[in-house]
């Protein structure tokens, strides 16, 4: 076609749609398929790790445990934590939603390196299987943080754990590189940085974290692996190493990692809240820049996990103050979302309900984070149940609520059908009740004197723990409803048009499910993505929803 003859650049360069099952659905190069592959795989691991969580809660029903032995219990919570962090939330939010939505939102046909994207994805299930197979050789016991010297003494599975996390880290790093290049180089004409949808800003702030922080973790893991397998002394104090070194290297990754887990969820919130309030997002620039500020400051706070570990006293203060400062951009985002609700015409869909739930739960987690940042209070609650309570409020109440919200929101885009709104609301109500009942009392348990990672505990806490366990079953039930709803809706859900929510970002302007090439003609962008009163801010979209033939590229 003439368009191709005139331009001939990457934007018009189209590979023919692949034929054959393997090319289409297994080793696919299509970012949308890879995104869905990520989401499905991560949900499979989510179910496995969720079962481990229920084993933990059953064990804690009685002060003397008795459901499983202490050693098995240690293995269970270690794998639960590792799997939820590395195999569920990070791949789901970056590889999953990032792949599914980000290239379309910036008006690209695919990510920069589709083959790299495919490799990143396929490393992930393999490393997940390796992580779970560590149970066969004696899984790691020292929690997802695996502090040496404890992890040096762990069973053979600990080395397997190192290898698995290393591999999933490689996958993250490659995804980060891929996304960053895509967003730097492949935005549609007119898609300036301040016109990118906020979900892309979330990914844009996350990609460098994935790329840089994960590599630091790879070094820490490689050293742990070498020490365990070949006796190379890095961490063993009896051979001159330092256990605190691991803590520095681990948290230098793992603190940015919590922003890897929350920034894309922030992005989802911005999309969902704006669309369902039928209003422009309030304070676009401030939200976008606070994402970048959080990502940047995220590299400067890692030692706030180590206030009790005996780092030099005057080293502690800057970490405390910078951690406090992170509360400011985070607060700005929360306030902006609440202001977006103001005078909106709010559609209380399941997706929006989860977004509102996010605001309620994540704010609580953020506030308990400020408590933890204050050294004097941290010295009291560090290593207690206050920590699991805080991290579940930000990771379940934040990231996972964001994931659910995103699934309800983009499900019509993935499949062309709605999920059941009724069961979505049931899911929301049960999940909120179960979540609050499970994790809210944990703050109190920790402050009162229950250490974390214990298989048996002081009988005075038994009542509260039983209460939590019962509510955790409610939460499990809610998630079960969600899965049934999703699986049922893939084939039987109500048909949704190409833009069921009336959203204005680019992915909603093309058919659902998205065609292989995304766009017949690369759109030009001349406005903000959230101006609901204005005409669509894109040109060259006229033919997207018609049946006119797809231009075929030269290759």
């Amino acid at each position: 076609m003439s368009v191709i003859a005139e331009h001939g650049g990457l934007a018009e360069h189209i590979h023919p749609e692949p034929q054959g099952f393997i090319r289409k659905y297994i080793f696919s190069l299509d970012h949308k398929i890879i995104g869905i592959q990520y989401i499905i795989t991560a949900f499979v691991f989510f179910v496995l790790a969720g079962c481990l969580a229920e084993i933990i809660r059953i064990q804690l029903m009685h002060a003397n445990g008795g459901f499983i032995t202490p050693d098995t219990y240690d293995e269970v919570y270690s794998i639960h934590g590792s799997a939820m962090v590395w195999l569920v939330i990070i791949p789901m939010l970056t590889g999953g939603f990032g792949n599914l939505v980000m290239p379309v939102q910036i008006g690209a046909r695919d990510v920069a390196f589709p083959w790299l994207n495919m490799i990143s994805f396929w490393i992930f299930p393999v490393s997940g299987l390796m992580l779970f197979s560590s149970f066969l050789m004696g899984a790691p016991v020292a929690g997802w943080t695996e502090y040496p010297p404890m992890s040096l003494q762990g069973a053979a599975g600990t080395s397997m754990w190192c290898a698995a996390i290393f591999l999933v880290g490689v996958s993250s790093t490659l995804t980060g590189i891929n996304f960053l290049v895509t967003m730097l180089k492949m935005r549609a004409p007119g898609m300036t940085y301040t016109r990118m949808p906020l979900f892309c800003w979330g990914q844009f702030a996350t990609a460098p974290l994935l790329m840089i922080a994960t590599t630091a973790l790879a070094a820490a893991l490689a050293a742990l692996f070498m020490e365990r397998q070949f006796g190379v002394p890095f961490y063993d104090p009896t051979k001159g190493g330092s256990p605190v070194l691991w803590q520095h290297m681990f948290w230098f990754y793992s603190h940015p990692a919590v922003y890897i887990m929350i920034l894309p969820a922030f992005g989802i919130m911005s999309e969902v809240i704006s669309v369902f309030s039928r209003k422009p997002i309030f304070g676009y620039r401030l939200i976008a820049f606070s994402s970048a500020a959080i990502a940047l400051a995220g590299f400067m706070v890692w030692a706030h996990h180590m206030f009790t570990s005996g780092i030099a006293p005057y080293m502690q203060l800057p970490f405390m103050v910078i951690t406090f400062i992170i509360a400011v951009p985070t607060g700005v985002k929360i306030f902006s979302w609440i202001a977006t609700l103001w005078e909106g015409k709010i559609h209380l869909t399941s997706s929006m309900l989860f977004a509102l739930g996010f605001l309620v739960l994540f704010t609580f987690g953020g506030i308990s984070g400020v408590f933890l940042a204050a050294i004097p209070f941290d010295l009291h609650v560090h290593g207690t149940y206050f920590i699991p309570a805080h991290l579940h409020f930000v990771l379940v109440g934040g990231s996972l609520m964001g994931i659910f919200s995103g699934i309800y929101y983009w499900f019509p885009k993935m499949t062309g059908r709605y999920m059941s709104e009724f069961w979505g609301r049931v899911h929301f109500v049960l999940f909120m009740i179960g979540f609050l009942g499970t994790f809210l009392p944990m703050h109190w348990l920790g402050a009162e004197g229950m250490p974390r990672r214990v298989a048996t505990y002081d009988p005075q806490f038994q009542g509260v723990n039983q209460f939590e366990s019962i509510f955790s079953f409610i939460m499990t039930l809610a998630i079960l409803i969600f899965f049934i709803n999703a699986l049922y809706s893939i084939r039987n859900g109500k048909k949704a048009g190409h833009n069921p929510w009336g959203a204005r970002t680019l992915e909603w302007q093309i058919p659902s499910p998205m065609p292989y090439y995304n766009f017949k003609h690369i759109p030009s962008v001349f406005g903000l993505p959230y101006d609901f009163t204005e005409p669509l801010p894109y040109a060259h979209l006229e033919e997207e929803l018609t049946d006119s033939p797809v231009p075929v590229g030269s290759h």
Binding site: P237, P243, F282, F324
Partner: protein, 360 residues
């Protein structure tokens, strides 16, 4: 104004609610509903910080949740609204945005100043204090007092109202020394000494809890107590340990010692114990049948049985030694008597039972 009367009412209600919460956090006589009873200085300072942060958090959280719920209800799409109805086209409000950037920043500065002040209190060396050391071990704490040989192994006694400098370290893996009532914690890291400073002011018995995962017995590492008592009673206890440990070497012992008398072990009692304590890790099968540890069938009668994990031949006294001291090393981990809850009599019974097992 009338248009936003609901908003005004909600704001007033939330403000009143916040004031009530703030008053509650400042006026409650003790922080006991939220934290364990406070047992000394600087726990009082931490409690003060807790009251401050809790009231600020209550203020913020009340407004966030209140507004989210109110907005979701008040601005929901009504039945009569057209499906395409839009909200007002508000993009931003620089004054508002500046306000909610600057006010939290100021609050953060205030919080930093307060935290640093209290942090400084935690660093100050008390004059004429008592210097005590604690060593974390799998899975108990030991203590070293000035002019007491060796280690104090049971409770930790402290005189009331005397400043204490506590240096902690570990003999094996990382532990953590936490006394919730003192609001203080320090990780016990092998090869490092961490210090906490406090002054117990209330007489009582406080739990010492390990909060850093340290192996199979981590859950049980909360059984020891810190006893704060009047100086006279403390002196008596202290002299008692001085006498008790007079003959003890000052070197840090690595394993508990003392051979167990194996006479009079009952094989039937041992069999019951074995089913209860051992079968989770050890099979009643040949040596190669491994669950966690090796199979134990005929362990004492098999001439081809390899030596025990510590290199000693498999004889009843050596097996008893492993049951007593446990083992942690390249072969894995075997709990010791304390963690398995085995008395000397139990060990004798178990060895007697193992002695009856013969390879077919």
């Amino acid at each position: 104004m009338s248009k936003h009367r609901g908003f005004t009412i909600v704001t007033v209600v939330l403000a009143l609610l916040s004031i009530a919460e703030i008053l509650y956090f400042w006026l409650m006589p003790t922080v006991e509903p939220w934290l364990p009873p406070e047992g000394g200085h600087p726990g009082d300072q931490v409690d003060w910080l807790f009251r401050f942060m809790a009231s600020a958090a209550a203020l913020l959280y009340t407004f966030v949740v209140g507004y989210v719920i109110y907005f979701a209800i008040a601005f929901r799409r009504r039945r009569g609204d057209s499906p395409d109805a839009l909200g007002p086209n508000i993009h931003d409000n620089p004054k508002l945005e500046a306000a909610w950037t600057i006010v939290p920043t100021l609050f953060v500065v205030l919080l930093s100043v307060l935290s640093i002040k209290i942090w400084y209190v935690l660093q100050v060396q008390p004059a004429n204090g008592l210097v005590v050391e604690s060593i974390g071990r799998q899975w108990y704490f030991t203590f070293r007092y000035p002019d007491v040989n060796g280690e104090v192994t049971s409770e930790m006694h402290l005189p009331v109202n005397v400043p204490v400098t506590l240096n902690v370290t570990s003999a094996d893996v990382i532990h953590s020394f936490w006394v919730p009532d003192m609001r203080l914690k320090a990780d016990m890291i092998p090869g490092m000494i961490n210090t906490i400073r406090f002054t117990p002011t209330r007489i009582g018995r406080y739990k010492i809890i390990c909060t850093e995962f340290c192996g199979t017995g981590h859950s049980t590492m909360d059984k020891q107590v810190m006893v704060v008592e009047p100086v006279a009673q403390y002196e008596v206890w202290y002299r008692g340990w001085q006498v008790h440990n007079a003959q003890v070497s000052n070197a840090i012992p690595t394993v508990s010692s003392g051979a167990i008398s194996l006479t009079g072990g009952s094989a039937s009692a041992g069999q019951a114990l074995f089913a209860q304590k051992c079968t989770a890790c050890h099979a009643l099968g040949p040596f190669s049948q491994r669950i966690v540890g090796p199979g134990l069938l005929g362990v004492l009668h098999d001439p081809t049985h390899p030596n025990l994990v510590d290199g000693d031949p498999a004889t009843p006294p050596n097996v008893a030694k492993i049951l007593q001291n446990g083992y942690t090393g390249s072969f894995g981990h075997m709990p010791d008597e304390a963690e398995n809850g085995l008395s000397s009599k139990d060990i004798a019974n178990l060895v007697a039972y193992l002695n009856t097992l013969k390879v077919k």
